[in-house]
Each structure stands twice: as C-alpha cells, then as structure tokens.
Amino acid sequence: MEPMTTQASATLDTTSNPACLRIVGDWTLANYASLKRSSERLAGQYDQRTEVDLEQLGQLDTAGASLLVELLGAERLSRLTETAQLPEASRALLQTVYCSVQDFCIPEKQPEKSVLIQLLSRIGCAVDTLWQDTLQILGFVGLILQTLVLRLFQPRRWRVTAVVAHIEQTGLDAAPIVALLTFLVGAVVAFLGATVLAGFGASIFTVDLVAFSFLREFGVLLTAILMAGRTASAFTAQIGSMKANEEIDAIRTLGLDPVELLVVPRVLALLIALPLLTFLAMICGIIGGGVVCALSLDISPAMFLSLLQSDIGVQHFLVGLAKAPFFAFLIAAIGCLEGFKVSGSAESVGAHTTSSVVQSIFVVIVLDAVAALFFMEMGW
C-alpha cells in the first residue's frame, strides 16, 4: 500500500458553475484524521446541485468509504456509484458501506446529571448493595447449614476425598507461611513489650504479654486474615471460573446440588484446617517471643516456660481457639458465595475475588472485636 503522491483531500471548486466537489487521493485509514477535518470544514458549503468529481480518487478502504458516505449522504452516493468512473472494487466497497450505514446512527448521549445527584445516587446504590449482600450471605449461611445437617445423617454422601484434598490445599500448604509469619510477629510483640515494660522495671511481664496476645487474639486473628487472603480468594476463583464456564449449570442440570458438591467440602475443610493452623500459629508466636526473651532479656527458655505455666490459664487458649471455627465458616461461606456471584466474564472473576478477600477480612476483624467485648464482659 504505497501512498500516492497527491495529498488526499476533499476540495470545493467554486470557479466552475455549478460548483464541483473534488475527491482526490487515497481515502484510507492512514489519512482519516485529516480527511475528517477537511470534510467537516466543507459541511454546509455545498448542496444537491454541487457536482461531485470522484475521478481522482485513489485507494479506498472502509474508513474512507464511511467518510464519503457522511460527506455526500447515502442517497447521493448511491446515484454517484452508478454513474461515476470508479474501479469495480471501490464501487462495491462504497455500495457495501452505504447499505450497512443507512440504518446506522449515532445514539444520543444521555445528558449528564449534576454531581450532587450522582453522589447521592452512588451512596444510595452502595447502601442498597450492602443490604443485599448482607441478606445474601445470611441466606447462604443458612443454606450451607441446612445442607450440612441434612447430609450429616447420610454417610454415603460424605465427600471424604474432596474434604481431605481441600484440607491439604488450605491447611497443610498454608502451614509454612502461617508459622513463619506468626513467629515474626511474636518476636516483634516481644521486642515492643521489652522496650515499654523496661521503663517500669517489669520486663519479665513480656512473657505474659506474648502469651496473652497470641493465645487470645493474635494467633487466631493472623491465621484467619491469612486464610481470608489465601483461601477465600482461591475458593472464589475456583467456583467463579466454573460458573463462567457454565459448569455450575451443568451440575444443576445433572440433578446435583452445587452447594453439597462444592461448598460443603470447602467449608468442612476450612473448619478443620483453621483451628489446626491457629494452634500452630499460637505455638510459633510464643516461640518467636521466647527467642527474643532469651536473646535480649536473659529470660531462659526454662524460665519462660515455667512463667507461662504459672501465669497463663488454659481458658485463654480456649477463648482463642473457640473463635477459629466461626472465622473458618464465614471465610469459606463468603469465598464460595462470591464465586457463585461471578457472571460470565474474566473481569467479573477478578472483581469478585477482590470483594471476597475484602469482605472476609472485614468480617473476621469485626467479629473478633465483638468477641473480645463479649469475653471481657463474661470475665473469661
């Protein structure tokens, strides 16, 4: 496609009578912008009597043809293509384009609403979505519980393999990262405690600080947040891509229950894995604290353990561990529900994965705060 030497243009020759519109050069995509500008300049300067000269028209493609249609109007062009001297290909192209463009018109843009209205409508939408989401998650939790209870008495329909596979993915595979992270946080908490408590001459209480915080809060909270990021997103992506691929519909048409097949094994797996990981997290956090105590506070491991044994009651451990199943259930439920909400596109999978992580972390932290208040009031 070598460009022709003549500059592509549309010019109005007013010297002749009647005036003559000359179409010159290559009307192709490469010249589209300049041709569009020049044809816009010409608008209104010519009428039905103006002659049109297409003889110097070079190459033509759909972009140029559509410009010509706009410049001359479909009706005019249809008469021209029959009479004018044109190569057969250009004639066919022009005919094809004006035939298809005839019923094509640019849709009118809706007038922009004022910023205030837009702001209010977005707030309204957000509140409504929040309410609908809450209803949905509550309904879904109910559905899972119902399915769980119904299948509990039918051992034949327990899906042990699926549950074990998910325990491996969500529990065993996550153990190293949970252990490392809580070990580091345990060390950090011990450092903080040592620094602050040293001012009161009470650095020995660093042991209590680490043990209390990890048994009651940090162990379970850190694990749950990690699981929300790691597992909830995985559940959403797995179920979401199945939904996008119509696999969920296939399950339904085969007379199977997607909740029983996909959700219950995941929920059960996380119900088992999260308390186990929480236990691991508590131990690793306390070890992290113990290492710092031994290295920077001269509290030997033996002394650390005896302090732990004498000061910390078993109820702290139980308080922490009791929260784990609730977190597990909600994380799995939110992850699966967001997966089911995916619609068709790849973008939707991404959006719902993000949403499932955000929601599950939010729910975990809110629930933990409520639980902390509750346990405090109960004096546990």
């Binding site: 759909t62 972009a63 290909a89 094809t96």
Partner: protein, 267 residues
Amino acid sequence: MSQTTPERREAVIEARGICNRFGTQSVHEQLDLDLYRGEILAVVGGSGSGKSVLLRSIVGLRRPNEGQVKVFGQDLSGVNDEQRSKVERRFGVLFQKGALFSSLTVTENVALPLIEHAGLSRADAEHLAGVKLALAGLPISAADKYPSSLSGGMIKRAALARALALDPDILFLDEPTAGLDPIGAAAFDQLILTLRDALGLSVFLITHDLDTLYTITDRVAVLSQKKVLVAGPIAQVEDTDDAWIHEYFHGPRGRAAYQAATAAKEL
C-alpha cells in the same frame, strides 16, 4: 502438492515444510500450503487434524518446529518485532469463540486497534467502530453492550468487526459459522463473500460447515495424514481418491449441501 490453479497467482501466504509437534505427538509433517490474493481458501479436516494449530502457526502465535511461513513474500521468523507488528496489522483474526475483551464494550473492542495502531482520537475511533459494526451487520443497540450479554451470533459479528478494524489484507476465520443458526450462518457466509469482493480480502477459513464450502469458497484444502492432502476447487477436491475425502463430501450431509448449492445456482 500439485499446483492446482491454472494461472500463476500471487501468493500472500506461503507455508513451506511446516512441522508441528507436541512432545512426541506430531501434528504436521512437511506441510505446504499457499493462500492467493483475493481468494477464499477453506481448510477442512477431521477433529484434531491440526487446523487451528496451522492457523496459529501462520499468524505467528506458535512457532512451527520446522519450516517457514512467508507472508507477502517475507519470512516472519527472521524479522524484528517492529516489522513483525507492521505485518501483523495486515492480519484480521476471528477466533473460534470470538475472543472479545470482556472488560470492554463492543464498540471499545473494535475501537481499540484503531486507537492503538491508527492513532485516531477516541471519538473518531468509536465513530469508525460504529461503521465497522454496521458493516458486520450488528444492530446499533448492541454497540454499548458488554460481550457477556451478547448472543453467539452477535459475538461472531462483533469479533468480525474487530478483525476488520484496520482494513486487513488477510482475514483468518476459525469456524466462523459454528454455533450459528442456519439463517445466521448463511447470512454470515454472504457477509464474508461481500466483504471479500468489496475489500479485496484474502480469506483463510477453517470450517466444518459443508454449506459454507459449497457456497463461498474458491479453493478447499484438505488436512489429513499430517499434511495437505489436496488443495483445489471443490469439484476437484471431492473427486480425489481418498476414503476420508469421499466420506466427507459424498456422505449424506455432503450430498445435501452439494444439492442445495447447485439448486441455488440454478435459481
């Protein structure tokens, strides 16, 4: 492969000695195929005979294990990225499932190559995209929709509009009529024929649709036994002495399509 065309025409694509292997499994061995300027070439073959792999090798999505593909007389494996991109802009590819970008509306899908390659402003590009959509026979109401809310036929048309966005010289179509109803499929065939005549396209078409073969193709290439068994006008291909080809063209479906095509020509 025997030269089947009487007059020597300009080949826009020359594939020579293509070998494609996946592990130990070989799909193509020493495959030769030409696409001439302005023709509609259909590639047929059984499932798994490597039609899509051949398409991917030609458009450069897969480097063949052996052999070379010349496009407009230029071997693409030896050129740098910039030149390669320049040649690839002259390709329009319609993928089997459309492959529209799901995060963009139909208009934005078609406007994307116009903005990126032709350097048009967004408004110009979207306007021109509207023309392409009209050309592909898509109603204007579909222009602002996302691909997920379109029917199969509309997705095909939108994808065709995107393939045509840069006014390509060569159009690659991977099973364009699969999954369309007969009316839609016939209309799509006619659309391809019209566009070929109007835009002077060379069309590389993979299909299983016998009606398409009989109505719009200039040449048919049969892919079998890891190479192009025969390539030529359909009358010549269907008389080839090969069990698979015989069953393909002279089976009940082939007969029906042939009769329909001849009846349509007599009318």
